[in-house]
């Protein structure tokens, strides 16, 4: 008999094993790749990170990047949630704006960076507007598609009990869609990290993107690797925190998206 995985210690040890395997593989590669195309070992990378935090204020870069992502996603999603619901609920509006939303969503946010530089310069405002933009279009589509996917049986049950249009929306559509709002924020977070690093590569004095760009310019490979790992870790931590919040707040769901 196979026991459900979630109840066994494997639930914790297997992911750990995956990470260990990856680090070992990285270490083996670092043994082989030496000379001009040298790959720094995990230990060297860790050392570079420690030096970065203690001597080069890497924490400032990390803080700036994380803050930029959080603010960008917050602004983008704060606008996307109401807009997504309104677009989904009023069919004429959706029909009217769907092509525009598709256009702007298909447009890679990175492509807007040069345009933003022209109009907004290279300040914090420029970066945040690109990030908010990216987060908004990523989230808005998820939200209005999830509203459109509300199971008709619940709407009919509500109508049979005499729910008005507003009651259907507030008491059935919104609660049903809450898990999808979390999904929208997750998608927005992913896009925001991708956009942030690109934005920082070109238009920032500090930040993780700048950090790895500098490291590459001066061929400081351990720093380059440390920066990349740090970007990945930050994104993963944010995602996990969001999933944990989602688990607690939408207990009613049969299964929470992984």
């Amino acid at each position: 008999m196979t026991r459900p995985l979630r109840r066994t210690p494997l639930r914790w040890t297997l992911p750990l094993l995956g990470v260990v395997l990856a680090v070992v593989a990285w270490w083996l590669v670092s043994l082989v790749m030496t000379g001009a195309k040298q790959v720094p070992s995990p230990a060297a990378t860790l050392h570079a990170a420690v030096v970065g935090f203690t001597e080069h204020d890497l924490l400032l870069d990390l803080r700036l990047s994380v803050l930029r992502v959080l603010i960008g996603v917050a602004i983008g999603c704060a606008v996307a949630v109401p807009v997504g619901f309104v677009l989904a609920w009023y069919r004429p509006l959706r029909l009217m704006f769907e092509p525009l939303v598709s256009f702007f969503r298909a447009l890679p946010p990175i492509a807007l960076i040069p345009l933003v530089i022209v109009y907004l310069g290279i300040g914090e405002q420029a970066r945040l507007s690109v990030l908010s933009y990216a987060a908004f279009f990523a989230a808005v589509v998820v939200i209005y598609e999830s509203v459109a996917a509300v199971d008709d049986i619940y709407v009919r049950a509500g109508r049979a009990m005499g729910a008005s249009g507003l009651e259907l929306f507030a008491r059935i559509v919104v609660p049903y869609t809450v898990p999808q709002v979390f999904v929208a924020v997750r998608v927005a977070l992913g896009i925001a990290w991708a956009t942030l690093v690109a934005a920082e590569l070109t238009v920032a004095q500090r930040g993780l993107g700048t950090y790895i760009q500098d490291a590459a310019n001066f061929s400081r490979k351990p720093d380059l690797f440390a920066g990349i790992v740090l970007i990945g870790l930050s994104a993963v931590v944010m995602d996990r925190v969001l999933v944990a919040v989602m688990r607690v707040s939408v207990r009613w769901q049969d299964r929470v998206a992984r």
Partner: protein
């Protein structure tokens, strides 16, 4: 007896195919009537018309003498797929209809109403449970309680037990028959089970196959109160044989066409 649910020459087609071809019958006040027919004959369509989810092409459905023009809280609906809200607890599901503007009650009244139907449906101890923790049979009991709690003029049940296993189905039929004896409410139940139709109903309306018309209306002379033993009474078995013959001839007609 006043007619509470009436169908008058109801016709409806989908994409040029006639589904209901002049259906007419009535359900009297306090009466429990089952609509029996082969699958795909349009019996659920008929319920959707009475509930106000669908408009007939011609003819009309009336409830309490008024033509049905749309969904209304005075007509309770129980769906085959339960349709209880997964994000609400059992008691909030049952009280839901009484929080809506169209049918709002005071908090005390709502609490009393919820407690009453929690008890009638045997859901004590599960008031705070979420639907995902309940079995199919319990979910449907919540749905029944929710429909009764809104105190509709008529109840419309669309194959409410079709998705349940045989044992649970029989148990829920017994629970429902008990409920109808304490809580006399005009009810129209859609089913394809002969046994279920007889056990629950005063009368059974048998629909013929597409295009659908009323083939026969059969009185069920099995006395109340009905218990599991009712299923073995000679009256029960006689009606059952008659209805099974009717259904069999219906399915052969449709097989030939």
């Amino acid at each position: 007896m006043t007619t509470m649910i009436g169908f008058d020459d109801v016709r409806l087609g989908f994409g040029g195919v006639e589904v209901l071809d002049g259906v007419g019958f009535g359900v009297g006040e306090g009466e429990f009537v089952s609509v029996l027919g082969p699958s795909g004959c349009g019996k659920s369509t008929l319920l959707n018309i009475a509930a106000g989810f669908l408009r007939p092409d011609s003819g009309e459905a009336t409830v309490a003498g008024e033509p049905v023009t749309g969904p209304d809280h005075r007509r309770g609906v129980v769906f085959q797929q339960y349709a209880i809200f997964p994000w609400l607890t059992v008691e909030k599901n049952i009280g839901f209809g009484l929080t809506l503007r169209a049918n709002r009650r005071s908090r005390e009244e709502r609490r009393a109403q919820v407690a009453r139907y929690v008890e009638l449906m045997g859901l004590q101890g599960f008031e705070k449970s979420l639907p995902k923790t309940l079995s199919g049979g319990m979910r449907q009991r919540v749905a029944l309680a929710r429909a009764y709690a809104t105190e509709p003029q008529v109840l419309l049940m669309d194959e409410p037990f079709a998705a349940l296993d045989a044992q649970t189905r029989e148990y829920l039929q017994e629970l429902l028959v008990e409920t109808t004896q304490t809580e006399r409410r005009t009810t129209m139940l859609i089913t394809h089970s002969v046994e279920e139709a007889i056990f629950l109903s005063h009368r059974v309306v048998v629909l013929g196959n597409r295009p659908t018309r009323v083939r026969e209306v059969v009185d069920v002379p099995v006395p109340f109160p009905r218990t599991p033993e009712s299923r073995l009474q000679p009256e029960f078995l006689a009606v059952r044989r008659h209805l099974e013959d009717l259904m069999r001839s219906e399915s052969t007609t449709s097989a030939r066409s």
